[in-house]
Symmetry: C2
Subunit: 270 residues, 2 copies
């Protein structure tokens, strides 16, 4: 899915909602555990319940990998089940030397044909560029993450800027707003404004809304550009809104609630 | 495998050789492609040919993941085939927020019972600590990598030190030399000495020897501590020493040659 298709989806659905499929088999409703593939059955119901409001789905690969072969089967079936026209993210946080990153890119662009994959920047240019070589695919590089540990390195001084600012500025020069996004887990107004000023054109994948404490209104007000330019991910706040037979209905209500919060901000861009 | 068992293996075999199973299906000898599981057949032959000299095997997960389910089956069979008493490394470069890192730790410590996994430090403390919670397992954190891209961030100034030095110093405080190693892809004498001075006790996993240009003698002379404290990884230089029916024999010769280079340095420690 290219940039203009993504922007079209955002304006059509009046939503920047990304639903995070962090499907922890120990947290899904018990009645699903008798299904042949409980994780896929759960994801299928969540997708059916939220696809009207979501412009993206993000599969957190860790939860699938931990289940071994069965997990990869659930991942593949889930990816195939996501309707065309919805952006897909492999949240895999990969990155290694060039010939190895190329294999990771093949994994998440060919073997499992996602639109995008998340990549860690620590190993630098030759670890990120192999992902950028795949036409029509997106690389989503960690910039500022939403966890407490972001203070250890990302928020440390690096010359006359902070490390995450150096990462954003440097990595942006390796690709374009057509094939490169950044993870910006900011929840504070000033930080969102400052990141948007640094990178006016790029899409940001914003986690940390819901269970992690951020709010939609602050993100939209401070990080939107003229194309919206943001995907706001909500995982647990939607998929685990209930853990009984009402889980899909509750996920639908939560997704709708998030979309409604986003709608006016998107209409204001017109 | 705990630290004293690893050290015993090093002194018994007079080797710090780690053989990297970066098994690229497009580079293995053609005659293996008719086997039911060519990657496993290749790895099995390589392990048989090198186990006398290797104290560790490192499976580069990217090459397996790119093959989908079949790749994970090859990975599992390979891991099971590695003889007891040889240290196993999942070179997976994982790392994410706490609940996700915990899933990655489960993947490589339980689902696939490796002794250790490589982890990227960018997301900080709560992304690394979940790996350190697993008794008897090792976390190998990226410090200074051997690729050109290490110059982008790792070698940048961070306060009064370089970023990779801050990473080593900070991450070392989260674990101990009993459960934490670092990837140190240094090839220059001064850098190896300086890293060893910073972390006198920890094991270093040193890639970049062979195809990437480093040499065994420089690493042993400058990075050894009293326990050796180093695992030197060679991947392509051993496993792809030949790509015809002589591949295993050539891998045996190369592994033996590397072990011989290491032997005198280890005897000098006594």
């Amino acid at each position: 899915m290219n940039r203009s298709e993504l922007i079209n989806a955002i304006f059509t659905k009046k939503s920047v909602l990304c639903v995070g499929l962090d499907t922890d088999i120990t947290k899904i409703p018990k009645h699903l555990l008798t299904e042949e593939d409980p994780v896929f059955s759960f994801n299928k119901a969540i997708i059916d319940a939220t696809k009207e409001y979501a412009v993206a789905y993000k599969i957190n690969t860790a939860f699938y990998e931990a289940q071994g072969i069965n997990g990869w089967i659930s991942l593949q079936k889930t990816l195939e089940y996501i309707p065309k026209g919805i952006f897909t993210i492999a949240d895999a946080k990969r990155g290694d030397i060039g010939n190895t990153s190329e294999q990771y890119a093949r994994t998440f662009f060919h073997t499992y044909p996602f639109d995008s994959v998340t990549v860690a920047p620590y190993m630098g240019e030759d670890s990120v560029k192999p992902f950028l070589q795949f036409p029509g695919k997106w690389t989503i590089v960690l910039g500022l993450t939403s966890n407490a540990g972001s203070a250890n390195f990302q928020l440390q001084q690096s010359g006359d800027e902070l490390l995450y600012q150096k990462v954003l500025r440097t990595v942006a020069s390796w690709g374009s707003p057509e094939n490169l996004m950044f993870v910006i887990g900011a929840t504070r107004k000033e930080q969102l404004q400052e990141v948007r000023a640094l990178l006016p054109e790029h899409f940001f994948l914003v986690p940390g809304v819901g269970a992690q404490g951020g709010d939609v209104d602050t993100v939209c007000r401070n990080a939107f550009n003229k194309d919206a330019g943001v995907l706001i991910n909500v995982s647990r706040g939607i998929i685990f809104a209930a853990n009984d037979t009402s889980f899909a209905e509750r996920a639908n209500e939560e997704a709708r609630r998030y979309q409604k919060e986003m709608e006016q901000h998107i209409l204001d861009l017109k």
